[in-house]
């Protein structure tokens, strides 16, 4: 490291040189020793980059701003003890926590200020209670919900595995896996629909595959808490990308939801249709460069049969997936029918 005297000379030369045009800098630095000259020149080059020009606290404050709860290990939420932070989402955070018997649970905290109204809080409790009635191996179980100083919370079954999003991004699943996963996902949806519960946000990020091959759908009934999903001008950036949660959701949204109509079980079937299409065909049916392209595709694109994109897809599956994606909700099959068709081809069941 430089000695104190060298550092002072570096500092002096830097401040003299920084305001000079390049040619005069050369002249100024010519008298300095080679190491000092090299150091000053290196600093002058770095100065040309724009950095720290934003308000200096912005980055740091922003960091905490997005981690508002910042619950610490050992902290208690209801009867749960926080273990560690798992993820941060648009609505809050998810923590690994322990219930009183030390069983791990996923604790989802929803920031209170993001919940629009007292009615929304009531709705949260109603939805969470309804969803907690769902007991099925293919549905992530909701154990409990409540309020704490940190915000509203939901305690869920702890599942380790990878999301379908991660698995799809790694490349196309082979057909036997696609069959098995489709059958399990459709079964979860059929069970929920039979209990009168809609998912409202089926997408690969909400589907987890455990190491042992059991597929689980996450967040049943909770999507509505995030409020109506609409294409607001604000949510579309200059580059045509969509911010935050909408980006994941848009590609799996049914045309009727796009039009602002009420979600039905057929809307869930459409979303599942887009998901299984991606699994089977290896390509998303509505992929587009911009949100408007996607919107147009969902409204108008003629969807290629999965079998035209990949060999070996049985005609029944081909026809089923296209029916799931029918623009008319009344023409779509029920989740139960989807489950029956997929299960017929699945070796697991």
């Amino acid at each position: 490291m430089n000695s104190q005297a060298e550092w002072e000379e570096i500092e002096r030369l830097f401040h003299q040189a920084i305001d000079l045009p390049p040619n005069d800098r050369q002249e100024l630095l010519a008298s300095a020793s080679a190491p000092i000259r090299a150091e000053v020149e290196s600093l002058l080059r770095a100065d040309e980059d724009a950095f720290f020009t934003a308000p200096p606290v912005h980055l740091a404050a922003d960091l905490l701003d997005r981690e508002p709860s910042a619950l610490n290990p050992g902290q208690r939420i209801g009867t749960y003890e926080i273990d560690s932070l798992i993820s941060v989402g648009g609505m809050g955070e998810v923590y690994l926590a322990r219930d009183p018997s030390r069983t791990p649970v996923a604790l989802k905290i929803l920031r209170r200020h993001l919940i629009a109204s007292p009615q929304a809080v009531d709705r949260f409790h109603t939805e969470a209670r309804a969803a907690s009635a769902l007991h099925h191996p293919n549905i992530v179980k909701i154990c409990d919900s409540g309020e704490s100083p940190a915000g509203l919370f939901i305690a869920m079954e702890w599942v380790e595995g990878r999301t379908l999003r991660q698995l799809i991004d790694q490349g196309a699943a082979d057909l036997s896996r696609a069959t098995d996963w489709s059958a399990q996902a459709a079964r979860a949806l059929a069970v929920a629909h039979a209990a009168g519960i809609l998912h409202r946000d089926i997408k690969p990020d909400n589907v987890i595959l455990r190491e042992d091959g059991v597929l689980k759908i996450l967040d049943f009934g909770l999507a509505r808490l995030e409020g109506p999903v609409r294409l607001e001008p604000d949510s579309i950036g200059a580059s045509g990308t969509i911010s935050g949660t909408l980006s994941g959701t848009l590609l799996y949204m049914s045309p009727e939801i796009f039009r602002g109509e009420i979600a039905t079980s057929a809307s869930d079937v459409f979303s599942l249709g887009a998901l299984v299409y991606e699994l089977w065909a290896g390509r998303h049916p509505f992929a587009g460069e911009t949100p408007l392209d996607v919107y147009e595709a969902i409204e108008c694109r003629v969807i290629a049969a999965p079998s035209t994109l990949r060999a070996g897809i049985p005609p029944e599956i081909d026809a089923l997936i296209l029916r799931m994606l029918d623009r008319d909700p009344t023409h779509r099959p029920s989740a139960r029918e989807c489950c029956e068709v997929f299960s017929r081809f699945s070796v697991r069941t």
Binding site: S42, V57, I86
Partner: protein
């Protein structure tokens, strides 16, 4: 002794050159600021984020008390508080950092926000580490960056707290930024 008296006498002792006073002062200031930061940054109802400098001011009034506020004590307090604020932000950033590494196999619905936060957390940690290297060469410049960047102090406030001129802080800030930027981009080239 109440906390106001305690903090004030510690500030005075530190001002007179007692190094142990700082060791006692730091945890008091850190804990208070951390508590306040958590509370302030949990609320954010109307989107107006309370800046670190506002928290430091509030902590000073709470810990030292307005009536005891001598100019010297205030300057010393700001220096300590900016260091504490740096620790708070870096600790948060680090916990986020390790969270990322540890959660590769765990999947609970995530979204894009997380990626941006990880990126920023990594930058805060990198800056903190580069700042430690700068401190070994030029302590005052590292202090200027700590106060400006982590404490959110203005050039004028920084000059006041350090007891140097505005021109000096401007010059320090410019060179320190440049030096840190180069360090974070891979050292001398």
């Amino acid at each position: 002794m109440n906390s106001e008296g305690e903090v004030t006498s510690l500030l005075t002792a530190w001002g007179k050159g007692d190094p142990n006073a700082l060791n006692e002062l730091m945890p008091l200031v850190y804990n208070e600021l951390h508590r306040m930061a958590q509370r302030a940054w949990r609320g954010i109802d109307q989107g107006n984020t309370l800046q670190p400098t506002a928290l430091i001011n509030e902590a000073y009034l709470k810990l030292a008390g307005a009536e005891n506020a001598t100019y010297q004590n205030r300057c010393h307090f700001f220096a300590v508080a900016c260091t504490a604020m740096r620790q708070i932000l870096v600790n948060h950033a680090r916990s986020r950092h390790t969270g990322k590494r540890g959660s590769g196999q765990l999947a609970v619905s995530l979204d894009d926000v997380q990626v941006a936060v990880h990126q920023e957390a990594a930058e805060v940690v990198a800056l903190h580490e580069a700042l430690e290297r700068l401190q070994a060469i030029d302590e005052r410049k590292s202090k200027v960056v700590e106060m400006r960047y982590f404490g959110g102090l203005s050039i004028e406030e920084t000059a006041e707290a350090l007891g140097v001129s505005v021109i000096t802080v401007n010059r320090d800030w410019r060179l320190a930024r440049t030096w840190l930027l180069r360090e974070m981009n891979g050292g001398p080239s």
